[in-house]
């Protein structure tokens, strides 16, 4: 409880770190902040070329099918693979200055979240231009699912960033894990393509219900099933509690082992 209060006291720091992250990233480049929109757009063009011209998949508008899942996946993947180093990378701050340690993972995840929301602007533009359109009726679910994904991502970032301080290999290991994880999550295919008997196993993956829900909202323009949402919320909250607990237990020793 005290920790939460203190994090709130340091909200200005979180805001400033997020701003530094987003603004500092493209400083010095000619197009600057515009890259935030340009990167996903170019990515989309590549996918469109590859999947509608060269390698035709059996799914209608496959590039959109992929893109709506890839955006939230990228958000999650960045949080895990890069975010796990967020304490280590700020070693200078951690060993020299006091502040609630949670600020670092929180601001990293928040910066990635803002990045994803900006990418959604591109996505919505593409959905409208391509004639696919959007269904505003199901957007209420969008906010819920963004929240759930953020809880999950933050929980795991807390967990892995704390572990990484004590075990440096974690970062490298995670970049492999996250690649495998992507193939085990219905990002490039739909759950229906998974053999029936393996499907329950797929739903043990906390990202499965989240990706399914995003695709429901943007691609199928329909409300996600309640069971999908509840499953996502359940696993998100569990990861958050686990990550928070591990972080809380280990944060006092960060400065000593770094």
């Amino acid at each position: 409880m005290n920790t939460l209060k203190e994090i709130w006291e340091y909200r200005t720091m979180i805001v400033n770190l997020v701003r530094r992250d987003l603004k500092g990233k493209y400083k010095g480049s000619v197009l600057g902040f515009f890259w935030t929109f340009l990167t996903p757009l170019l990515q989309l063009i590549v996918y469109t070329l590859v999947f509608s011209v060269i390698m035709r998949a059996g799914v209608e508008d496959y590039y959109l099918f992929l893109f709506v899942a890839l955006i939230p996946w990228t958000y999650f993947a960045n949080c895990i693979s890069v975010g796990s180093g967020c304490i280590m990378n700020q070693k200078n701050l951690v060993v020299k200055i006091y502040f609630p340690r949670e600020v670092l993972p929180i601001s990293y995840v928040a910066a990635q979240l803002v990045n994803m929301l900006l990418t959604f602007i591109v996505l919505i533009a593409v959905l409208l231009v391509s004639g696919k359109g959007i269904n505003l009726m199901v957007w209420g679910y969008l906010f819920i699912i963004i929240f759930v994904e953020t809880i999950l991502a933050l929980g795991l970032t807390l967990f892995f960033s704390a572990i990484t301080v004590f075990l440096r290999d974690m970062q490298y290991l995670l970049s492999i894990v996250i690649m495998a994880w992507q193939f085990m999550t219905p990002v490039m295919y739909s759950v229906d393509m998974v053999p029936e008997q393996l499907r329950p196993l797929f739903y043990l993956n906390p990202m499965t219900p989240i990706i399914v829900a995003y695709r429901d909202i943007f691609y199928y323009k329909q409300a996600p099933e309640l069971s999908t949402l509840l499953l996502g919320i359940g696993m998100g909250v569990f990861c958050m509690l686990l990550g928070g607990f591990v972080f809380e237990k280990s944060k006092k020793r960060f400065a000593e082992v770094m």
Binding site: E9, Y10, R11, T12, M13, V15, N16, L17, R19, R20, K23, G24, K27, G28, N92, L93, V94, V95, K96, I97, Y98, F99, L167, R168, D169, L173, K252, A255, E256
Partner: protein, 409 residues
């Protein structure tokens, strides 16, 4: 906690596990489990002190004595194994300057980032912004990216932010050496001002001088315990005396000699001694003492133009004095074992630690043997004279004789 205290530290213990193998990777973990080679180092072994509101204290001690650890525990970067720390009010630490600065962002933006890391809220930073810019003297550059700043400008900005946090307790670690002399003076004035306003200050420094200028009280930490406390000047002279005699320093002297030694070795310095006026071998003196420097050397051939010299430096490498036998017009011809001595009849140095360089070279400056930082010596006294020198002096007073009065009488 007592009412008038701002800091209370009770029975502080802290030990570290020092891992002797360099890195710890997954491979080690899998192969050896947690069986890493380690040793436990008890850095703090029961530190007790309390600081009154508005008081400034200094912590001194040689490297590794635990003073920085104490400060880190006060800052809550680390946590004690045993004992308690109580602090009243907002704590700010000047341990790291310019934390979180982004080189591509403007000075103004970096003020916000840096100040927020110290725990200031947006409104509080807005209020202080002008004060910070004024203090840093960077008005016209404040909207330029920090990467275009000189290192002096960078440190000025960083210090300006840190000093304007308005903490109730300010913890400072070895950072007062920022900027040029004028800016340093400004920082000192500001620190004193902050102290007058009732901020409690804790300083860790190797510069005893800085501590004497700001602190009301000083704690000397030795082997994780408080060895002495009280008036800074008195504590410091005990500390210097101890340092002069301790083995720790001698060991580090040996380390120093290894890489501070150059020349073609046709003549080598075998030993250097400093002798006090009682004829004793020592390295601790008092101001104005009669001191003799003796240099034993060995020349492998007959050298007809050897020049012997020595130089005295402060710990921050300012040359205080230097001379040699060429300057003093004393030609020397040496062969085999020779001892050269130089008598300094009245040592003109005030309290402090000094380095001694010794050299044998040709009149053209080509080194036979040159020892930089050959040894350290210490001058101790309880006098509070200022500057770098000690002068033999005598005060007197009498009624002023005016020319007019003379005529009347």
């Amino acid at each position: 906690m007592e009412e008038q205290n701002a800091i209370e530290v009770k029975n502080l213990h802290k030990s570290f596990k020092v891992y002797l193998d360099r890195s710890y990777s997954l491979k080690d973990f899998l192969l050896r489990g947690s069986g890493r080679r380690k040793e436990v180092r008890h850095v703090l072994q029961g530190i007790n002190f309390s600081v009154k509101k508005g008081e400034a204290i200094g912590l001194v001690g040689h490297n590794g004595c635990g003073k920085s650890t104490t400060l880190k525990l006060l800052t809550r970067i680390m946590y004690p194994d045993q004992g308690t720390i109580e602090l009243k009010g907002r704590v700010s630490s000047l341990i790291e300057l310019g934390a979180g600065f982004h080189p591509d962002m403007s000075g103004r933006e970096n003020i916000y980032i840096n100040a927020s890391i110290f725990g200031l809220k947006k409104k509080e930073i807005d209020e202080r912004l002008q004060k910070i810019i004024d203090f840093s003297e960077l008005q016209e550059y404040i909207d330029n990216p920090v990467r275009t700043y000189s290192s002096g400008m960078y440190m000025r900005l960083a210090f300006a932010v840190a000093i304007n946090v308005d903490a109730d307790v300010l913890l400072i670690d070895e950072i007062l050496a920022v900027g040029d002399v004028a800016f340093q003076a400004k920082c000192f004035t500001k620190l004193n001002e902050i102290k007058q306003q009732g901020t409690t200050i804790v300083i860790v420094s190797h510069s005893l001088d800085q501590i004497e200028r700001i602190c009301d009280k000083c704690y000397w930490i030795q082997d994780g315990k408080i060895r002495a406390e009280g008036n800074p000047r008195e504590v410091h002279s005990q500390y210097l005396e101890f340092m002069a005699k301790s083995n720790i320093r001698c060991e580090s002297d040996m380390d120093r000699k290894i890489d501070r030694h150059s020349g073609n070795q046709e003549a080598v310095v075998k030993a250097v001694r400093m002798i006090n006026e009682k004829g004793e071998l020592t390295d601790t003196f008092t101001p104005g003492e009669n001191v003799r420097i003796e240099i034993d050397c060995f020349a492998s051939r007959k050298i007809e133009d050897a020049v012997f010299g020595f130089g005295i430096f402060s710990l921050d490498n300012q040359e205080i004095y230097g001379t040699n036998t060429l300057i003093d017009k004393m030609p020397l011809v040496i062969e085999g074992d020779v001892t050269v001595t130089c008598q300094i009849t009245c040592l003109p140095l005030k309290q402090g630690s000094y380095k001694l360089d010794v050299e044998i070279h040709t009149p053209f400056g080509f080194d036979y043997d040159y020892w930089r930082d050959y040894m350290r010596f210490y001058v101790r006294s309880t006098s509070t004279e200022a500057g770098v020198l000690h002068m033999e002096r005598k005060w007197n007073h009498f009624p002023t004789k005016l020319d007019g009065e003379k005529e009347e009488v």
